[in-house]
């Protein structure tokens, strides 16, 4: 088993004192980020990314940097559950489904059980996903080594068409948001010929729009503006977690093994295919309700109703890193930010990473195991502390978050212009969220735009302008065909509804 050997090597890389300290730091920061309104996995990691620029320069530093950032991500995934259960405020979109049964449980005085169930199932979901990553990613990477421009373009096409096919938002809004991302990515220097595009003589636009700034604005500032509307009274249940409650819940959990398994499968699938954690959590909640014997009691405070969405969300959030490290195609906005990090540190994400940067890749995979254990320990022991953060009044927390966002936007390129752009993106994010324009495809398009365009143009150059190259062999043909099917999926659904006469 090559993978086991590589993984053991990875543990050797990840298990240094520095890395363990970074792991716990990352998880704690991540939980705080997950708990705070306006800060989430994607923009939290984006804000802290510049801190790693220096760190990544030293030998082996890139591994430490990715451990820090990915642990922030795990922490944010854990943190979302705390606010959902105690305050009925989903800190992250993927924890919305957790509120359905988590908050009623808290109201019945069983917050401890709900939290333990949520954390434990998050952990199990992540563990399953990491095992999938461990064994599947070398295969995918090996396979992808043979990829040329047409294959890569068809992967990109599949990624973006999947958004249109699986998105809950109206398809034309998804399309508009996505294309806005591609247009923003095109600003600046043309990746193939070096021509300046869409800059209109502005020197600020020479380097184009940085997606990190977009992420901080859209998710950070936009989210705070939205939170403001809701009014600011956070009234939450008391959080107490003692050993007795934890053990009691752990005894109950094995009963839901089938739900866990099903939710992990849903989560892994949705994470690898760019659907993301949010639909995965809803889907697995729905599936669990349908198959459970107590399905009709869901929503009134069932532990199983917490297990299902949390397992799926964490499994999806984790497995979203699989396409990121193997193909260079992130499955979620946070994975996109991590991908951006890799590029800034001078690592080229994609299949070659497994050949050229073995230490880095396996260190990262090993740190996923360790980071989630660290996460589970931190959240089980420190819940009251994190819940206390939410009791800090919004008029104190909000300006500090704004300042953190501004610092994050500035430090990406040491540019004041980016701080202004952050505010602009914040206003856009507020409108987009209210009108159901999805943000994830927008962000992914900004990140992948140049690569998608380059692979398209290279493929066109090879085939001398013949689009048949995207169907030239079984692999690329299947991916392109699947992509086109997903693209017209909403249309098919509409036709079917019409024919049935609903």
């Amino acid at each position: 088993m090559d993978e086991i050997q590589s993984l053991m090597h990875g543990f050797g890389v990840a298990l240094t004192l520095t890395n363990l300290v970074l792991m716990f730091t990352g998880v704690i920061l991540g939980v705080i980020i997950g708990v705070l309104p306006g800060l989430g996995g994607a923009n939290g990691v984006a804000i802290l990314l510049p801190l790693t620029f220096g760190m990544a320069q030293s030998p082996g530093g890139a591994t430490s940097a990715i451990i820090l950032l990915s642990c922030i991500y795990w922490g944010a995934l854990f943190g979302g559950a705390i606010t959902s259960i105690l305050f009925n405020i989903p800190g992250e979109p993927w924890s919305v489904a957790t509120t359905f049964d988590g908050y009623p449980l808290a109201q019945q005085g069983r917050a401890g059980n709900a939290l333990t169930a949520a954390f434990t199932s998050s952990f199990i979901g992540a563990l399953v996903a990491v095992i999938v990553i461990t064994f599947l990613s070398p295969i995918v990477a090996n396979f992808a080594l043979e990829f040329g421009p047409p294959e890569f373009f068809s992967v990109y096409l599949l990624t973006f068409c999947a958004f249109i096919g699986t998105s809950k938002e109206p398809p034309f809004k998804t399309l508009a948001a996505m294309m806005l991302g591609f247009a923003l990515a095109a600003v600046g220097t043309d990746p193939v010929t070096g021509t300046l595009r869409l800059t209109f003589g502005s020197t600020h636009l020479l380097t184009g729009f940085d997606f990190l700034v977009a992420v901080i604005g859209l998710f950070g500032i936009g989210e705070i503006l939205l939170t403001l509307e809701e009014g600011l009274a956070f009234r939450g249940a008391q959080a107490k977690l003692n050993v007795r409650v934890v053990v009691e819940t752990w005894k109950e959990l094995p009963r839901y093994w089938l739900t866990s398994l099903r939710s992990s499968a849903v989560g892994c699938f949705m994470g690898i295919v760019p659907g993301g954690a949010t639909p995965a959590s809803f889907m697995s909640y729905g599936v669990a309700r349908r198959f459970s014997r107590d399905g009709d009691k869901f929503g009134s405070g069932m532990v199983e109703g917490v297990v299902a969405p949390e397992t799926a969300a964490h499994a999806a959030g984790t497995s979203a890193l699989l396409p990121m490290i193997t193909l260079g195609v992130p499955g979620s906005p946070t994975a996109a930010v991590l991908l951006g990090g890799l590029m800034i540190w001078g690592l080229q994400p994609g299949p070659l990473l497994f050949v050229e940067q073995k230490d880095f890749v396996w260190g990262l995979i090993a740190s996923m195991y360790l980071g989630n254990i660290a996460g589970l320990i931190v959240v089980l022991t420190c819940v009251p502390l994190f819940a206390a953060i939410l009791r800090v009044p919004f008029s104190v927390i909000a300006p500090i978050i704004m300042v953190v966002c501004a610092i994050g936007a500035y430090t990406v390129h040491n540019s004041i212009f980016d701080v202004w752009m952050m505010v602009v993106f914040g206003i856009a994010g507020y409108f987009f969220k209210k009108l159901k324009y999805p943000l994830a495809p927008l962000v992914l398009a900004i990140v992948l735009g140049d690569n998608a365009e380059s692979s398209f143009r290279q493929a066109m150059l090879v085939s001398q302008g013949d689009v048949a190259i995207f169907f030239s062999n079984a692999l690329v043909g299947t991916m392109t065909g699947l992509a086109l099917l997903l693209l017209v999926w909403p249309l098919l659904g509409w036709v079917v509804r019409r024919v049935r006469g609903d």
Binding site: M179, A183, A186, I400, V423, R457
Partner: protein
Amino acid sequence: MAEGPQDRAAFGLKSAEIAVAAFFFLFGAIVMYDSVRLGIGWQEVHGPQPGYFPFYVGLIICVSALVNAVQGLIIRPERDRTFVEVGQLKLVLTVLIPTALYAALVGLIGIYVASILFITFFMRWLGKYPWWKAVAVSLSTAVVFYLIFEAWFKVPLPKGPVEAFFGLN
């Protein structure tokens, strides 16, 4: 249910949908305009010209914007929900305008002084905290950020005349 002036709709969903669709259309049109300038055809050595890809991106933006605008237009008046209430809009603007000013100030007087002013203002004006509390929180925030960014991670942040006076540049 009686509606107070604060609950009144400042904007309807319909107008918001149309306005955002119009923004998208305009943006798409600008992208297409510049793409045509760059050339949207085939070039012998480089293959598709620099404007080729963005041109179709712009075109799709314009087409989807039109669809979204039409879908906004056909919202019947009785189904037109509130996009934002007057009270909500006021609250959002009382935060947005200071934030925009803050972003502008960062370039002039540096991020530390701007942040201190911003947090103090926010706590004093919106949170109704006593002066000393607002100043204490904002000053300690600035110090903590200085220690984390400049001292620990060696990431320089924008500074202005005040820092220069204290010789911190």
